[in-house]
């Protein structure tokens, strides 16, 4: 709840978004007993709809989750007519939404089922339904946010994993490191590459680092600048950096961009770079 920024004020704002006022609370109170006595019917409307949707199989076939979801939905409906839509209520909504996200319930399917639930509620709430509807939209807002937040969280975790996988620092032999760079280098990744490399230079007591950029299709001025900085930083720590695998196109574009790589030792291919590195190490 905190991670999503749902403070007391934010919840208050959300109530204001759907236009929930004191008048609505009286309306809802009037519908309370009618909803309470028919609560199971509404729960059935929601889950009955899901049962017929192939995309909702994940929820319907997971007995444990389904039981919990029904129980939480029942709680939801009862809380919906209680008239208190504060932090406790929001907490309950998030819990149910997280369950939906875990079982992979799609947003569109959920909205379909929720629509059925509203139809069912309309039948018993009658004139009081519009007020109840505001609460329902307040709930939908929360649930959508959780589903989106969870999805974004997965993406964040994955991209983090890819980043970590994509910048290995390999030890070829005593005091010689290889840093193969593959794919697109953006500012964030360049930063990460530099930090990984500097930490490895320290840990492995490296004297020479071969940075292979064969797998980098394009190098723009920003990336070139980052590479230059990496070379300079490694040198400050006493390690020489040899850059290998700058393709003809990349070399031409670097020259065209007017980037001065004069201070960088560049060797055509990885083999040549490693040979040169060995020579440097032998000199000591």
């Amino acid at each position: 709840m905190r991670a999503m920024g749902l403070t007391r004020d934010a919840i208050q704002r959300r109530r204001a978004f759907v236009g929930l006022t004191a008048d609505d609370l009286t309306e809802i109170a009037a519908a309370k007993s009618a909803v309470q006595s028919t609560v199971d019917q509404h729960v059935d409307a929601f889950f009955g709809y899901l049962a017929n949707i192939p995309e909702a199989r994940g929820v319907m076939q997971n007995r444990e989750a389904l039981g919990l979801a029904r129980q939480l939905k029942r709680q939801h409906l009862l809380a919906m007519v209680e008239g208190d839509y504060g932090e406790g209520y929001v907490e309950q909504r998030l819990k149910l939404a997280q369950l939906y996200s875990q079982v992979g319930l799609e947003l569109a399917v959920f909205l379909g089922a929720f629509n059925q639930l509203l139809h069912s509620l309309e039948g018993v709430a009658g004139n009081h339904f519009p007020s109840l509807c505001k609460v329902a939209f307040f709930d939908i807002g929360l649930i959508c946010d959780v589903l989106i937040y969870e999805r974004e969280r997965v993406i964040r975790i994955q991209s983090e994993a890819i980043r970590e996988l994509s910048t290995p620092v390999l030890q070829i032999r005593e005091r010689l490191l290889l840093l193969p760079i593959i794919g697109v280098v953006d500012t964030h990744r360049a930063h990460q590459i530099m930090q990984n490399l500097l930490a490895a230079v320290r840990a492995k007591r490296a004297k020479v680092v071969v940075m292979d950029v064969t797998g980098v299709a394009t190098i723009d001025s920003k990336v070139a600048n980052h590479l230059l900085q990496t070379v300079a930083a490694a040198r400050l720590m006493g390690a020489e950096v040899i850059v290998t695998g700058i393709s003809a196109e990349v070399a031409q574009s670097l020259v065209a961009l007017g980037i001065d790589l004069g201070k960088v030792t560049a060797i055509g291919d990885l083999q040549g770079g490693l040979e040169d590195a060995e020579r440097l190490l032998e000199e000591d």
């Binding site: 900085q229 930083a233 400050l236 006493g238």
Partner: protein, 120 residues
């Protein structure tokens, strides 16, 4: 706090163990220039392992120290620059151009020995 300067053969070893004020740095510079002459040192190792920050003044002064030492006939190696410090220095565009750097004290001494060998 003054920086202790130790003599080891014809090499001076100065280990900066805590963050230095600007005055301390200048004092260190003067001491070192003086001492190179008195002990006829041919090499200087400045160890900055303990520093987790190097500002532009410190960088410039260290550079000045190395250039001064050179004029006095001693080669300077700056050793022990931490990864974070190295990163910050290049971000700020501060580099020890033309000055040797090495991973740690051991490497620094080895570098000086290699240079001495080359002179012979």
């Amino acid at each position: 706090m003054p920086v202790p300067i130790l003599k080891q053969g014809d090499t001076l070893i100065a280990s900066i163990v805590a963050a230095l004020s600007d005055d301390d740095l200048l004092q260190f510079r003067d001491d070192l220039a003086q001492k190179i002459g008195t002990v006829r040192a041919r090499g200087v190792v400045v160890d900055v392992t303990a520093l987790d920050v190097l500002d532009s003044f410190a960088t410039r002064t260290l550079r000045g120290i190395a250039l001064t030492a050179k004029l006095r006939g001693a080669e300077t190696v700056i050793v022990g620059i931490q990864p974070e410090v190295a990163y910050t220095l290049v971000q700020l565009g501060l580099t020890f151009d033309g000055i040797s750097t090495a991973l740690d004290l051991e490497e620094g001494l080895a570098l000086l020995a290699a240079k001495k060998q080359a002179r012979k």
